[in-house]
């Protein structure tokens, strides 16, 4: 009754639950699923859309995964992504550098921005024992309103009405994976991050420290791990990853910053992390959510359903709840069975 069975069950139950939702709205379930899957994987272009949507989610997913393995609840991926995006878009607009260098510097800017925003709650926890759940949560909204200011005033593109910044210079753009696609080369950065994160967690001393903090804080402390410093380091790494996600959207996907287009990245990333379990799993979970986004876009075209973003939320939310509840229910069932077995032996 270990991982595989429970995860297969999670998938089955998610699909059943999602079907129930579709049936409740009166659409043909098989038709909806066919269009959904076709829209996500059916043609090379649709698949590239899936990849484009998945790329930042890999990074926010990793941000949460790395932190939670150390028992550090970074709910602030959302805000860190906003700050990363602000750094990236500023460098992208104003810096004067040749192509690969400009893009790399802007990406590093996103990394630094996210790390800084992640560092504040981390250092508050390390030095003053301030609960990071509440601070990271609050900082999401401080970051959002900061971005609202930056997008509407200093960097506002005055030539258009929409709430957007100027476009970044072409030298700062992470080019698409192939001409005409929106899937872009920041994917490579995301994949490298996933592999490095997995290696750090499984092979390095820092990874050991993270895992020991997450599994047994008291033991880690008495075992000589510098708890405060490790929390600070985790918050930096986690924030940097979320910041890169913001950079990915700006430098690879949107090429500017739009007040409506970054929201949800951090929270969805937490979902991705739950579904993916570990760093490599986050890649697949992000592709799953990306496929839902891309598939739902197609649903909208096919059915004239005006529910695309909402449908994604329903399916993702259902999958997250199933991923949480099903394993817990299995454990509970197992326990009940064991108890029954014991009682039978006794009598």
């Amino acid at each position: 009754m270990r991982l595989p069975l429970s995860q297969i069950l999670v998938v089955i139950i998610s699909v059943v639950a999602a079907s129930a939702v579709i049936a409740a709205t009166g659409y043909n379930i098989i038709y909806v699923f066919t269009e959904l899957v076709y829209g996500a994987f059916g043609t090379p272009y649709y698949f590239s859309e899936t990849i484009a949507r998945a790329t930042p989610l890999i990074l926010t997913g990793l941000a949460f995964t790395v932190a939670i393995k150390g028992g550090y609840w970074n709910i602030g991926g959302e805000g860190q992504a906003w700050v990363g995006a602000m750094f990236a878009v500023t460098i992208g607009i104003f810096a004067d550098l040749p192509f690969p260098l400009h893009a790399i510097v802007a990406a590093l800017g996103a990394l630094v921005g996210g790390a800084l925003w992640g560092f504040i709650p981390g250092v508050l926890k390390a030095k003053l024992e301030v609960n990071e759940v509440l601070t990271t949560l609050m900082m999401n909204y401080v970051a959002y309103w900061l971005a609202y200011y930056v997008i509407n005033w200093p960097l506002k593109d005055r030539t258009i009405y929409a709430q957007q910044t100027y476009f970044i210079k072409s030298s700062a753009i992470f080019p698409p994976l192939a001409a005409g696609l929106r899937a872009h080369s920041f994917l490579i950065v995301a994949l490298i991050c996933a592999i490095v994160a997995q290696l750090i967690l499984s092979r390095t001393r820092f990874g050991q420290e993270i895992l020991s903090l997450g599994s047994n804080l008291a033991a880690a402390r008495s075992g000589g791990v510098n708890v405060g410093r490790t929390y600070t380091k985790i918050s930096l790494v986690s924030g940097a990853l979320a910041g890169l996600a913001g950079g990915s959207e700006v430098l690879g996907f949107m090429h500017n910053l739009d007040i409506f287009k970054l929201a949800g990245l951090g929270y969805l990333g937490i979902g991705v992390s739950v579904l993916g379990v570990n760093a490599i799993g986050a890649i697949f979970a992000a592709v799953f959510v990306g496929a839902l986004v891309s598939g739902a876009d197609n649903l909208q075209r096919a059915l004239g359903l005006r529910v695309s973003d909402a449908a994604v939320n329903v399916f993702t939310g259902t999958a997250i709840m199933c991923a949480l509840l099903v394993p817990a229910m299995l454990i509970r069932l197992q326990r009940v069975w064991k108890l029954r077995g014991k009682k039978r032996v006794r009598t």
Partner: protein, 305 residues
Amino acid sequence: MVVNILAMGVPLSVPILLASIGEAVSERAGVLNICIEGYMLMGSIAAYLVAYYVGNIYLAVVIAILASIAVALLHGYGTINLGCSQLLSGIGINILVAGIAVVLYREMIFKYATIPPKVVMFENINIPALSDIPVVGPILFRQNPLFYLGVVLSVLLWYFIKYTYLGLMIRAVGEDPLTVDTSGFSPVIARYMGLIIGSATAGLGGAYLVLGYLGWFAPGITGGKGFIALAIVIAANWNPIVCLLVSYLFGAIDAIQLRFQVGGYEMIAPFLMAVPYAFTIVILVLRRKVFVPKALAKPYVREEE
């Protein structure tokens, strides 16, 4: 003009007031509802649909509360019965409800009308005599009935938590569930009480957005108010009566911010919007060890042999 702004702060504070007083009780029981935003959204859409299709706003309020409680029971089953993480469950529910509410809205309203039709709302009530007092009258006594309800509820909940047996059990289960268990009261029931109170007032807050403030529903109607409610609970030290004061303070900041949006100083507005969150962080730092329910967000699973 100052009186105008101060009076404007009241309607803006009502949703966060309602959501925060229940959340304070719920967190006292150790149940953290990151999904309070989801409860409010569920309350809003339920209130709107009932008000639109049935036309009875009292029924709309009741259904909004029940819908919000229904969502909370999912949170409760996972976290209280099964011991799942309250944070992850809350985030999952927020995403799920954000989807469900918008699907409901688009399927049941938007298909037929591109501009959301207005529904009947609760009229403001001028309290006789009191509403004629200068300054205080227009600010406090010419408001929506749901505001008066919120004030009454905050006092009642404060009394309930502080002076009743069930309130004691709720506080105890938020500090140390094991003690409650050994004293013979079910920690599961105590936590469910907190959860239901919390989600009921949040649903009411969501209903207010539709029936007391806007008159229609929009997908982003809650716009982070659930998270402000979480902030208020912290700033108010988990005390429903202090929640009343803090939510008014945040509501007044919102009113000032709205004022700036028409005055030509629009760029100050986003900074004012960030103030409640920044303020809460400062409070968390300054008061870090004074009081937090010790078992907050910690699952309690009874050890069985």
